[in-house]
């Protein structure tokens, strides 16, 4: 815009003076709706009159929705037990004291608990960690999605983002990075204590806990799912297991080749980093039993824990959660409350506006525009 000079002006020609009446009026702007800013348009105005119905409608829709959501959420059974063992009277106290990364011996502890009411339908078993920053930047980026997708070159030469968990000695680590390295490795087994005090194991399903797309597309074993040992060990270049792991990635679930290696579901679940420092991850699913018997009848249970994962060093907590699920997920009263609140406020303000509309509107719109 700086240069206003226009060479064409040089001839100082302006048609007003020199083009006579005979010349066409070619400079006349087109009389189109667009150029004259007369496009057809909807011109809403936010007045009490126009928003009143909206308020009432929102109020009338939201309150029932809110009540529905709240009831749904309330019908969900949830049971949570902390088994960290930081206090001396806790059953896992000694484990918590003794377990470190280097310990080779697993530590076992058991926790007893009672379910007051039976859990119907499918029950989902979660483990929860607190004060665990899976969302730390250094942690979040410390992975190699190419390697996890089965790319052989990344298997041999993991991404630099994996540092300092990239190589172990001379060997590349598979799976590399801090996330994989810190894989949660407690194992939880649930027993039901029936009336004659005998323990029966509750069957836990370990499939279907990871996103389908993760398991089938995003995560892939190098060289297919058969013969994982060869893929990770031989092929002319072997890989090392992550330093904190007790067993290699191809030994995660030797019993099921569809759940072993990179496509092990516990591993995939762990690899989806949590948004906040207190989080839950789906551990197992307790399938609904056929017939009318509840999945988890009320009564006493015992949780057998293989305590491998030390959390006390960072003031962490470990929990086991049992929860039923509705169509909208787990227990979450927030949505219901929010809908009820907003709906009520809308309705209330609708009433207030109605009053304003009647009382003030006449007076104000009739006042003249000052000039």
């Amino acid at each position: 815009m700086a240069s206003s000079y226009n060479a064409k002006e040089e001839d100082g020609h302006h048609s007003g003076a020199s083009s006579g009446a005979g010349a066409a009026k070619n400079r006349k702007p087109d009389n189109t709706a667009f150029k004259q800013q007369r496009l057809p348009a909807w011109q809403p105005i936010l007045t009490a009159g126009s928003v009143l119905p909206a308020f009432f409608v929102i109020g009338l829709i939201f309150i029932p929705i809110g009540i529905g959501l709240y009831v749904t959420s309330n019908n969900i059974r949830e049971f949570e037990i902390d088994y960290t063992g930081e206090s001396s009277n806790s059953p896992c106290y000694s484990c918590a004291k003794n377990v470190t990364w280097n310990s080779t011996e697993p530590c076992f502890c058991t926790v007893n608990f009672t379910l007051e009411r039976p859990f119907e339908s499918n029950v989902f078993m979660y483990y929860g960690l607190s004060n665990f920053y899976q969302n730390h930047r250094r942690y979040v980026k410390s992975r190699d999605d190419r390697q996890l997708n089965g790319d052989p070159s990344s298997l041999r030469n993991p991404s630099k983002e994996c540092e300092p968990y990239r190589t172990s000695g001379d060997l590349p680590i598979a799976p590399c990075g801090a996330i994989a390295n810190s894989l949660f490795n407690d194992s939880l087994v649930l027993y039901y204590i029936d009336s004659n005090n005998s323990q029966s194991e509750v069957p836990l399903v370990k499939k279907g806990i990871a996103w389908w797309t993760d398991k089938h597309v995003k995560f892939k074993n190098p060289g297919g799912n058969s013969n994982l040992t060869a893929a990770f060990q031989d092929l002319g270049h072997s890989t090392a297991k992550p330093v904190n792991w007790r067993k290699a990635v191809y030994e995660l679930d030797p019993s099921d080749p569809e759940n072993n290696g990179f496509i092990n579901e516990d591993f995939i679940v762990w690899m989806r980093t949590a948004a906040l420092p207190t989080f839950r991850k789906l551990y197992r699913i307790i399938q609904k039993k056929p017939g009318a018997t509840p999945t988890l009848p009320s009564g006493n249970y015992v949780l057998h824990i293989t305590y491998n994962y030390p959390v006390l060093s960072f003031d962490g907590r470990k929990r086991m959660i049992l929860s039923t699920i509705s169509w909208m997920g787990g227990k979450n009263p927030f949505l219901g409350i929010a809908y009820i609140t907003v709906g009520s406020i809308c309705f209330f303000l609708g009433v207030v506006l109605l009053i304003i509309h009647h009382k003030y509107d006449n007076r104000n719109t009739s006042a003249d525009i000052p000039s």
Binding site: N6, K28, K35, Q37, L39, A41, D145, A275, T365, P370
Partner: protein, 1094 residues
């Protein structure tokens, strides 16, 4: 070298020492770039902008250190912004190239090797002999060699250079003027020596050495020998000239100056807001850095077993780490500075300004002129004007002088159908009488005086009428006088000469020192002896003529006050004309032969005096122009333009103060002021006139101030004249300003051009810093047009000077009302909302990211995926605001124009006041908190949101916040939109749809070139959760709901007048289409209107 030596036709001396000089070629270059330097030069210029430079720095920081986002996230938007701007500038430059090529490629005729050759303008070299034909412009600065006239003169008009429309005569050196053909020119041996190029149009010093028959004749050259590039040849069939200054060295090109950049108030507040945001950014970054170190003081937080650092990280120096942490936070939050703000504003201004040119209401049918936008930078300033300074002649009036009446020897005459009719007679009788009665004595003398005492030139329309040769008189006889057109420097003179022609005494031409008139068909020749030129101090001009009978007579013409004191005979008392007319008094003086000899001697000695020539000339003039015999007076009317009164009234209602600044005399100015409604009859008119001393002036000012205080009930108008004004401004600026501010109308008369600019500057710099607008049509208004915040040129009769220096040009004064009240209002609302919205949406964007740091140990983890970070400003939220800012109309244009009071609603930059800025910023923060904590409560309860019990991760959380944000931010704009064209619908819903489609696509593929696949199926998983949908809806409603409530409450409890007029119109225009729901809303609305007591 101080001089340049030009060999005519480049015939260099064959022997002797000759050093060829290098001159520029005749190419005019107004373009800034060439193909080769476009990229580096344009980049350099763009990065000189603070905002672009800032983002470049951020980009470089991202390249150099480990930052949370990849360099692409800021590099891509920057690239986008730079590219868009470069395309725009490239396009503008291409237009300039095209214009340049047109000028440079124009065909010209040059004498080369003995014949006339057609070539392109750019090929003219210094020394070439150029032929220019009638009505062509000169392609370079030429020294006139010869014309087709025997005396070697030609006429030119310089309207495009200095705005003067009169014909000027230029001369050639006698030795060359005989060379009227190519062959004669071929034989010409001449050298021109002249000064180096300089910008002054009126200065040229040189000499020409012509070698004839072996002897050298030296002739001086002055400006009257130089034909300037850009001027136009008139009245002469063809001329030959030698090019002395070419291309960028021509005086016209040297006079091209960069217009000083005017910045609008909006831009200034935009920069203030940017600085505030920069401070917010810096403090957020500093706070985060400090908190990071506070929270990570312990190893168990900084480096727990699961998240070890690398060796390099552990070993880097703490200071370096601190700095790089700070920079990383800066990068993380840098999007709070809206990168695309500038480019959007620029696009909005560029595209939006087309509407002014397209407006049919600003199109003037008669002259086929539409409004013209010279700079789009000031569109919104049109909505902020507080003072309008307007020129009178040609702006308020047509500048079309119409002879109305005259007074001859005490009798008043009106002109009716080309006849002078004495006052008081009916038309028909008068005409009959006039035919017989007018031919005698004083009347005739008066008419002759009027038709002889002037400096008018004649142009003959048909070029072939000059074929025969030099004597113009011969053609006049052969052709009807309709073909001649008068050219005069003052429109009054032209009107007078035309009037006498109609009445029967026609000026038919001048040739050298002979003037010819035809009195009722009878031709008379007068010998022009002397011209006593007009000057503004004397305010009169005279000619001394030898009558056909041999007597010497002086005719003089000038302002009443300049002539009446010197008259000794004639009907001095009775010579009175209507007050509103521009009056000129005509007088004469007959010299006896002895007297004339004395006069002649005095004049000649004064003219040839070497010292104090000016003073001596004045003396001589005063000596000659006395003992006058009053012949009569002429009254010329300048018609008011259409609808001036309504326009001024509308501006006043809009709260704009109108000042009229004119060079005219006090009486005329006041009468025009009254007739155009600037002054009311009921106004008390205060005067500050003819103050000669400082004390007097101060005393008068104090008196006026007292009077203003005493009766503040009625309106006051102030009349100031130039002389008093300069006194008032010198010492008593404050007092003067106080008086002015309390007057509702101010009229300044007798103003010099620079004084006009001074008045504008005075108000511009007064403590309130009001926004000023100057409007004018002539070269004398240019300084004030350039001085004011907004300069408007009227495309009038006085050349294009004002138009070219203006920011906007319109054909008529009345268009000002629509330009300000409608276009100004719209542009202001649009750009103000645009700016505020941009800051708002970026606060919404970045604040969740800041809040997230509290939950991730200030590790600089981003909340959103980097693709979202990149595309938020350039794809997801860019178009709705652009379309809004192009089409928004919050009130119907007719309402705006009919209720000028609405203009007050936006005065004083009210939509960009700190309060509104605070509102938008706080709103942005509030919305950001709702997005973030809404999502946090939903997901932070760490329950699953899916029906299959599976869990979400951090990317899903970020995507949820982002989705809510994109929708809310788009809907917030939808709430602000009052004018929903199909384009608004398209871009608003289209943007949201695009976000969804893009996210599905982006998350649906394992991208081979990305090294993380964080977003894989995240969006689909999010949408497959019912809770997420409910959460999205409730969060959006929660954000927008209070805003709607606020709007409704304010509208009903404290409505602005704009809002009231929306309601009025709403009732009327309710029949406009759309959904049934709206119909019912409208229906309830109509009821509201119906309830009003009438």
């Amino acid at each position: 070298i101080d001089t340049r030596t030009v060999y005519v036709a480049n015939r260099f001396p064959e022997h002797g020492h000759y050093v060829p000089q290098r001159f520029a070629d005749n190419r005019i270059i107004s373009s800034k770039y060439t193909i080769w330097n476009f990229v580096p030069k344009n980049l350099f210029e763009q990065f000189r902008r603070i905002a672009n430079f800032y983002f470049l720095i951020i980009f470089l920081v991202q390249l150099m250190i480990d930052t949370p986002t990849s360099p692409v996230t800021s590099g891509l938007p920057l690239f986008f912004v730079i590219t868009v701007t470069a395309i725009k500038q490239g396009y503008e430059d291409w237009l300039r190239h095209k214009a340049d090529n047109e000028v440079n490629g124009a065909p010209v005729f040059v004498v080369r090797s003995g014949s006339l050759v057609q070539t392109r303008s750019k090929n003219i070299r210094v020394g070439d002999i150029v032929r220019v034909a009638k009505d062509e412009t000169f392609p370079a600065d030429l020294v006139l060699l010869s014309s087709d006239r025997p005396d070697g003169t030609c006429h030119v008009t310089t309207a495009s250079l200095d705005g003067e429309t009169n014909l000027k005569t230029h001369y050639s050196v006698p030795e060359t003027s005989v060379c009227q053909s190519v062959s004669q020119l071929e034989a010409l041996q001449a050298v021109v020596e002249c000064q180096q190029p300089e910008a002054d149009l009126y200065r040229f010093v040189g000499r020409m050495t012509v070698t004839q028959h072996g002897e050298e004749i030296v002739r001086p050259l002055g400006p009257e020998n130089l034909l300037l590039r850009g001027a136009r040849l008139k009245n002469t069939k063809e001329i030959f000239g030698v090019a002395v200054y070419t291309g960028m060295e021509s005086k016209m090109a040297l006079n091209y100056k960069c217009k000083s950049q005017k910045r609008s108030a909006v831009e200034k507040s935009m920069n203030t807001f940017l600085i505030i945001y920069l401070i917010i950014l810096l403090s957020e970054a500093i706070l985060s850095t400090i908190l990071k170190y506070a929270w990570q003081a312990e190893d168990k937080w900084d480096e727990p077993f699961y998240n070890q650092k690398t060796e390099a990280e552990r070993n880097s120096s703490p200071i370096l780490k601190f700095i790089s942490d700070f920079l990383a936070f800066l990068v993380l939050y840098n999007f709070i500075i809206p990168i695309s703000l500038y480019v959007t504003v620029e696009m909005q201004k560029f595209l939006g300004s087309f509407f002014i040119g397209w407006d049919l209401d600003l199109y003037h049918e008669e002259s086929d002129q539409k409004a013209q936008v010279n700079t789009s930078d000031l569109n919104e300033e049109l909505g902020q004007v507080e003072y309008v300074f307007t020129d009178k002649t040609g702006t308020l009036t047509e500048n079309e002088m119409q002879f109305r009446e005259c007074s001859i020897n005490g009798t008043k005459y009106r002109e009716v159908n080309g006849k002078l009719v004495p006052e008081g007679m009916t038309d028909e009788l008068g005409v009959l009488l006039a035919n017989t009665f007018l031919r005698t004595g004083e009347e005739l003398l008066f008419l002759k005086a009027v038709s002889l005492c002037h400096t008018v030139q004649i142009s003959y329309d048909q070029s072939d009428c000059l074929v025969g040769g030099g004597d113009p008189f011969s053609h006049v006889n052969g052709f009807s006088s309709n073909h001649m057109e008068y050219y005069a420097s003052s429109p009054d003179e032209k009107a007078l000469v035309e009037a006498t022609k109609r009445i029967g005494v026609a000026f038919t031409g001048s040739n050298g020192d002979t003037m010819e008139i035809k009195t009722f068909g009878k031709s008379e020749k007068y010998k022009l002896l002397h011209v006593l030129e007009f000057d503004p101090n004397r305010r009169r001009m005279s000619v001394i003529l030898q009558t056909p009978s041999g007597g010497k007579v002086l005719f003089t013409k000038g302002a009443e006050s300049a002539i009446l004191p010197f008259t000794t005979s004639g009907e001095i008392e009775k010579t009175r004309l209507h007050k509103g007319l521009r009056t000129l008094v005509v007088a004469c003086r007959h010299f006896s032969p002895e007297e004339y000899i004395n006069v002649d001697r005095q004049l000649n000695s004064a003219r040839t005096a070497l010292q104090q020539r000016e003073e001596r000339l004045q003396e001589a003039f005063n000596y000659i122009e006395r003992d006058l015999q009053l012949l009569g007076a002429t009254g010329v009317e300048d018609k008011l333009q259409d609808k001036v009164q309504e326009t001024i009234e509308a501006l006043r209602l809009a709260g704009i103060k109108v000042w009229v600044l004119t060079g005219d005399k006090h009486e005329t100015a006041v009468s025009v002021s009254l007739s155009c409604g600037h002054f009311h009859r009921t106004m008390n008119i205060l005067e500050l006139l003819q103050q000669h001393s400082d004390n007097e002036c101060a005393e008068q000012l104090r008196r006026l101030a007292r009077r203003l205080k005493e009766d503040h009930v009625i309106q006051h108008g102030l009349v100031v004249d130039g002389a008093s004004l300069s006194l008032a401004l010198r010492e008593h600026e404050k007092l003067f300003m106080e008086v002015c501010k309390n007057c509702s109308a101010v009229l300044c008369c007798r103003m010099a051009p620079l004084q006009k600019a001074k008045v504008v500057r005075l108000l511009k710099t007064s403590p309130e810093k009001p926004i000023t607008l100057a409007i004018g049509d002539g070269a004398n208004d240019v300084s004030m047009i350039q001085e004011a915040h907004v300069g408007i040129g009227i495309m009038g009769k006085e050349g294009r000077q004002a138009v070219r220096n203006s920011d906007y040009a319109i054909a008529r004064f009345k268009f000002l009302a629509k330009l300000l009240l409608v276009h100004g209002h719209f542009y202001y609302i649009r750009i103000a909302t645009l700016v505020q919205y941009f800051f708002y949406k970026n606060v919404c964007f970045i604040t969740p990211q800041f809040l997230y740091q509290f939950f991730c140990l200030f590790s600089q983890q981003t909340l959103y995926d980097s693709v979202y970070l990149t595309l938020y400003n350039i794809c997801f939220t860019s178009l709705p605001i652009l379309v809004y800012s192009l089409f928004e109309q919050l009130v119907h244009p007719h309402v705006l124009q009919n209720k000028p009071g609405l203009y007050r609603d936006i005065s004083k930059n009210s939509l960009l006041s700190f309060r509104t800025f605070l509102y938008w910023t706080v709103l942005g923060f509030c919305h950001a908190f709702v997005f973030f904590f809404g999502s946090y409560i939903l997901m932070g309860e760490d329950t699953t949101l899916m029906g299959n019990g599976q869990m979400f991760g951090n990317w899903t959380f970020g995507t949820l916040v982002f989705t809510v944000m994109v929708i809310t931010v788009t809907l917030k704009l939808a709430l602000e939109t009052h004018f929903w064209t199909w384009m608004n619908h398209f871009v608003t819903w289209g943007s949201i749809a695009f976000y969804f489609i893009f996210s599905l696509f982006y998350g649906g593929i394992i991208w081979p070139f990305l090294h993380t696949q964080d977003m894989y199926f995240v969006f689909v998983q999010l949408l497959s959760s019912g809770s997420a949908w409910f959460a999205i809806i409730i969060i959006i409603i929660t954000c927008l709901f209070p805003d709607v409530v606020k709007k409704v409450f304010y509208r009903h409890l404290q409505p602005t007048s704009t809002q009231k007029s929306q309601v009025m119109r709403g009732g009327g225009a309710g029949a406009l289409k759309t959904s049934a729901k709206w119909e019912c809303v409208m229906a309830s609305h109509l009821q509201v209107v119906a309830w009003e007591p009438l």
